[in-house]
């Protein structure tokens, strides 16, 4: 429709486009398209990042990535974060939001408290939790000692390190999703709720058939944020475990950093980047196309 009108000579619209599109387009190409293209180009080389890449090895880097045990673990970990985000974090956020939209004494203060972890910088959060989890001096150790038990070093065992990170992820981000839901709930038409109450709906029915359905658009958005955020998780992992022990707690991004950047294997790292990009873009477009198509 818009395109049609443009062709028929809506000059105001055209002027707007000519004026406002180029800056955004230039910035986007310069800082998004170009680097993506470069990464794709580098991923074909065996290159240590110095000088210009010369040693073309075709798709070998991709082969190396897929053959890497640590990458498989990192990929699995990313899926785990998504699962925990969707199955634990979002329901928790939703439940709290429904409780805290009601105006009672302390509701605002509680909202603030739950939102605080989100404001905290990721690195700071990671450092704080590395102290909390410390088996000798940490908060956790103190709690264990209270019961006369020896505290485990959660971050030092490959079976507990990643679950420990997952806990921090949930702690850090549920407040953000809670706020999204609260905002949506506050914008909800109260008359619908009133009407349902007059019709004799129970509290459960009210939630199930009125409140949650009106939240669907927000839930879809929240899921989108949770998944994209999960795929990009990096800065909590670094201060907590740096991907260890035995590469058990890497995410794809921390894998990229550790195996690509710090080992001066820029070609290899670029291949990981391209794989991550393809996953993200497929998800983002797919989600927009199939799940968020109404909005």
């Amino acid at each position: 429709m818009n395109a049609l009108r443009l062709r028929t000579g809506d000059s105001g619209k055209l002027t707007t486009l000519v004026l406002f599109l180029p800056p955004a387009l230039v910035l986007f190409s310069l800082f998004v398209i170009l680097p993506v293209g470069e990464a794709a180009w580098y991923s074909g080389f065996n290159w240590n990042g110095f000088g210009k890449p010369t040693n073309w090895i075709g798709l070998d880097n991709y082969r190396f990535v897929f053959a890497n045990k640590a990458f498989a673990t990192a990929f699995r970990n990313n899926l785990l974060i998504i699962a925990v985000s969707l199955l634990v974090q979002l329901p928790l956020a939703l439940a709290l939001a429904i409780i805290l939209t009601d105006r009672f004494r302390g509701a605002v203060a509680l909202r603030l408290v739950f939102f605080l972890p989100y404001i905290l910088a990721e690195i700071a959060t990671g450092l704080i939790f590395s102290f909390v989890y410390d088996g000798d001096y940490g908060l956790l150790a103190a709690i264990y000692r209270l019961f006369g038990a020896e505290a485990p070093h959660l971050l030092a065992s490959s079976s507990t390190a990643f679950p420990a990170i997952l806990l921090v992820v949930v702690w850090k981000y549920f407040g953000f999703h809670m706020m999204l839901f609260i905002a949506a709930l506050q914008g909800m038409d109260r008359s619908m709720v009133e009407a349902a109450k007059i019709d004799g709906a129970s509290r459960w029915q009210l939630l199930r058939y009125v409140v949650i359905p009106t939240l669907y658009p927000t839930i879809r958005l929240s899921v989108f944020f949770a998944i994209v955020g999960s795929l990009q998780l990096f800065d909590l992992v670094m201060p907590l475990t740096r991907g260890g022990p035995a590469d058990s707690s890497h995410t794809m991004v921390s894998f990229l950093y550790n195996f690509g950047v710090t080992r001066m294997r820029v070609g290899f790292g670029s291949a990981v980047g391209v794989i991550l990009f393809v996953i993200c873009i497929t998800f983002a477009f797919g989600y927009k196309r199939w799940i968020m198509r109404d909005e």
Binding site: W47, N48, G49, F50, A156, S157, A161, P245, T262, M264
Partner: protein, 419 residues
Amino acid sequence: MEHMFRTMVVAAALALSTGLAAAQATVRWLHIEANPAQVKIWEEVARDFEAKNPGVKVEMQYLENEAYKAKAPTLLQSRDRPHIIYSWAGGVLKAQVEAGVLEDITVQVAGFKDTLSPSAVAAFTIGGKIYGLPHTVSQVGFMANKELLAKAGVDAAKVLNWDDLLDAVRKLKASGITPIAVGGADKWPVHFYWTGLAGRIGGKAAFDAALKGDGGGFEGEVFQKSGELFKQLVDLQPFQNGFLGFKSQQAIGHFGDGKAAMILAISSFYHTQKVFAADKVGISDDKLAWINIPVVAGGKGEATDTLGGVNGWLITKGAPKEAVDFVKHFISPDVQKRLAGGNYLIPTVKGAETGLGSPFMRNIAQNIAASKYHQNFWDQDLGPSVGRVVNDATAELAGGTMTPRQVAKAIQDAFKQGN
């Protein structure tokens, strides 16, 4: 009269040269030294250099060890790169030279290099060209807490071969003492076990052969065996609880706090165990013992062979010539003797080791001097990519997630993959 005239000429020349010097730039010096006491001396050395060279400013920049390794490639290609950077020589240095980010300083240090230990200078010479100057060497071995050993009835002087060490670990465990502290999260402290043992089993010949790909390379017999011997130790569970989560500095502090009897250490931990101890005092000299990496029965390595570092300063491409001057000043006999006197390092300037204050450090200096084969840290020598795989795999062996055979294979695979 003539005398006065000469003085005036000299004065004028001096004024002219300092006038020229005054127009000059800043030397950016990037270091990774975490010990505040030593950094303080370095700062004084820098201020002293500035006083002697008016117009030159020396700017010190600090990065933590692991952070530095991660950032170096990007840092070196930036236009604002530091002029002087820290180096462990080896494969990383080679990669940097090939990339053309370093300055060839062969001509500028022509006479100066003769004042230094030739083997240390050789570590910074690639293809006949010198790219940096070494300021210290170090040795890897066990640092031990005599008091804790005594409680378990272990005498540090009698731990000579690998079985002695295993025996000591058993006795310590039986007495309820944590035998060994290790920084498993940083991984490189763990690779000292595997590489130290490989050196004892196969000596220089085995390492050289593996580099050429002979005898199965790093998958060969020697390296399988070093994994098996290390596993004997690992199976005794000698490390502190949660050792895979400990960074090196935390592990050193653990030892300094007297919570573990031993630590496989770089000789420079002599100081850092004090710095990272909770009380900042650490283990006092009279309680500190040094145990060379135990020999292995039937091993081909000489007992005098040493594993350790050669550390120095590289000059980056485009650095002002004052950067070289400063490094020369930093590695002058006066400064080296001063640092040796404080036991901060084993100096590279010939004769400066006489300045070493403590018997502990003098012993290290003697070990290195007596060594005919001083092997650089493998993770540095093999380059950033293969070296890290050595660290990964050996840490997994310590964590029980890889077998000796898998470790050897992983390293050989990485070596074959190259880069």
